[in-house]
């Protein structure tokens, strides 16, 4: 059933004169898990960061075209507002080292000076950490700083932090490439559970991961969106030769 939450229309990204993302048109539906894959330098991360307007924070970075979130062009809205509405999880887990685990989860409120009652905060912390499958492990050390957590746990903390803001859409930029295999599978299991309440777009370097976790997959090559299809279809019978070459390992 078509229920688009994010639509890119003729979207282009530049670093200075360098045309990095070329004329992307894509429509993503609610509660889908979308994998974005492609070789290094293909523009997949740049595209992802264009969605929540992180791309323009780099000096010299610009973009053209539209990205519609629930029908509104994010480039017509207040950038701060857009970033608050969309969650993002990064390649390297980056919890705030000066905040406790509890404070990290509600950082989106704390750092913005948004007043939330202690009771409400407790609820948010428990719900977010539970959704991130971290609650049981940290519920007795909420007021410690998160430096003792493992890589996988820190990443799930970052996911909880993003969820606490109640986004509809969560972006993941190679979220498991810095993690060991066990942490990776715990995060991948999480994707499956998060799907019920959120839409996930996951940039990944790992084809097998894309095949494992996503409903539909987008394949980027040299800045273009080459193919976007059902994951099963993409990996068994891709329509484009370039996709075929990538999947069979001709280039990575």
């Amino acid at each position: 059933m078509e229920n688009p939450i994010v639509k890119a229309e003729n979207y282009n990204s530049y670093f200075g004169d360098n045309h990095v993302v070329k004329d992307v048109n894509i429509s993503i539906n609610k509660n889908e898990v979308i994998a974005v894959m492609g070789p290094s330098g293909c523009g997949k991360t740049t595209f992802l960061r264009g969605i929540n307007r992180m791309h323009e924070l780099i000096p010299g970075a610009t973009s053209k075209g539209k990205i519609l979130l629930d029908g509104q062009n994010v480039y017509d809205l207040n950038a701060i507002y857009v970033r608050a509405k969309i969650g993002m999880v990064f390649q390297r887990p980056n919890p705030f080292p000066n905040l406790s685990i509890y404070e990290n989860v509600v950082a989106g409120y704390l750092l913005n000076g948004i007043k939330v009652s202690k009771a409400d905060k407790d609820v948010i912390v428990e719900k977010s950490l539970t959704s991130a499958a971290l609650w049981k492990e940290v519920k007795d050390s909420l007021h410690k700083k998160g430096t003792f957590l493992s890589g996988g746990q820190q990443q799930r903390l970052c996911i909880a932090r993003a969820i606490a803001m109640q986004p509809e859409l969560i972006l993941f930029d190679e979220p498991t490439s810095a993690l060991d295999p066990i942490s990776t599978s715990s995060v991948e299991a999480l994707f499956h559970e998060l799907k019920a309440n959120y839409t996930l777009i996951i940039v990944t370097h790992n084809m097998q991961q894309a095949a494992r976790v996503s409903d539909r997959t987008a394949f980027f090559y040299m800045g273009e969106l080459v193919e976007f299809d059902d994951t099963k279809q993409m990996f068994t019978a891709p329509k484009d030769q370039r996709t075929q070459n990538y999947i069979t390992g001709r280039f990575s």
Binding site: R83, F90, F96, A107, G108, L110, N112
Partner: protein, 281 residues
């Protein structure tokens, strides 16, 4: 062949001996000076010394309360000016290293670091003392603030440059505006480095005399007025040490002891801050 190696080894050992000698001999003058000041000055310091102004020539007793309070006031005032300005300039330099402004501002920080303190003093004289028509604590504080700037700016800049970009990104992606990212995430994470830069700059200016000679001048009476001349510890040492009166020499020793104590304490505090308050990244 073996004789040659032997000779070379002997030379190497002799060299090491010379190096050790010349390196450690520097401890001697430091210890001598510190002990001498302690000996001459510690005996001067008592409650009377700290709470009274200098006595007129010929009278015994007297103290350095005006200098003590004066130094405190001017250092406070200088810090109130220099810390925000210095931190913000340091933040700009670390956040925007490739702009033209960063290049020129960085150049100016380097220049300012090398300007002799007496030159700063005479310039502030023309900027503040002459227009106001009077020597003043404000002028002295401004001169001291200018001297604090390079230290605060460089330590802020260097501390923040060491922080990973991922910290900023995490906050920005949550919809936190830039100023809150800097003030609530970046600066707190660099707190130890920035604070130690501040304490270091205070330790530096608390002993500076030259910038105060023509700005705050000195004042033999107790004064807290910001628009009048104000006495300071280093200035009172200079005046009384170069005077021909033994009583005043004693005052100068006492003041030197106090000043040295402050400077040493601040240096130790700086070290403790860097060690204990560093946030593990």
């Amino acid at each position: 062949m073996e004789a040659k190696i032997g000779a070379r080894n002997v030379k190497s050992v002799i060299f090491k001996g010379l190096v050790v000698f010349f390196a450690f001999i520097i401890v001697v003058p430091l210890v001598v000076i510190l002990l001498y000041i302690a000996k001459q000055g510690a005996t001067q310091v008592n409650w009377h010394f700290l709470t009274h102004v200098p006595a007129p020539v010929g009278e015994k007793g007297g103290g350095i309360s005006n200098a003590f309070v004066g130094s405190f006031i001017m250092v406070m005032l200088a810090s109130i000016v220099a810390v925000p300005v210095g931190m913000m300039a340091g933040i700009y330099l670390s956040e925007n290293p490739r702009t033209k402004l960063a290049y020129y501002a960085g150049l100016c920080v380097d220049i300012l670091q090398g300007v002799p303190s007496i030159v700063v003093g005479i310039v502030v004289y023309f900027w503040i003392v002459k227009p106001l028509g009077t020597f003043s604590a404000i002028a002295g504080s401004i001169a001291l603030a200018i001297m604090m700037l390079p230290i605060i700016i460089r330590s802020t800049e260097q501390t923040l440059k060491l922080l990973p970009d991922s910290l900023k990104e995490a906050a920005l992606s949550l919809g936190v505006p830039y100023h809150r990212v800097i003030l609530k995430v970046i600066v707190p994470c660099g707190f130890a480095g920035i604070l130690s830069g501040i304490t270091l700059s205070i330790a530096r200016i608390i002993g500076e005399t030259a910038p105060l000679l023509f700005t705050a001048l000195g004042n033999s009476f107790f004064s807290t007025s910001l628009t009048k001349p104000m006495e300071s510890l280093p200035h009172v040492i200079f005046t009384y040490a170069t005077s021909p009166y033994d009583d005043w020499h004693d005052l100068a020793w006492g003041a030197s002891f106090i000043l040295l104590l402050f400077v040493l304490t601040l240096n130790i505090v700086t070290k403790v801050i860097t060690r204990k308050w560093k946030i593990q990244l």
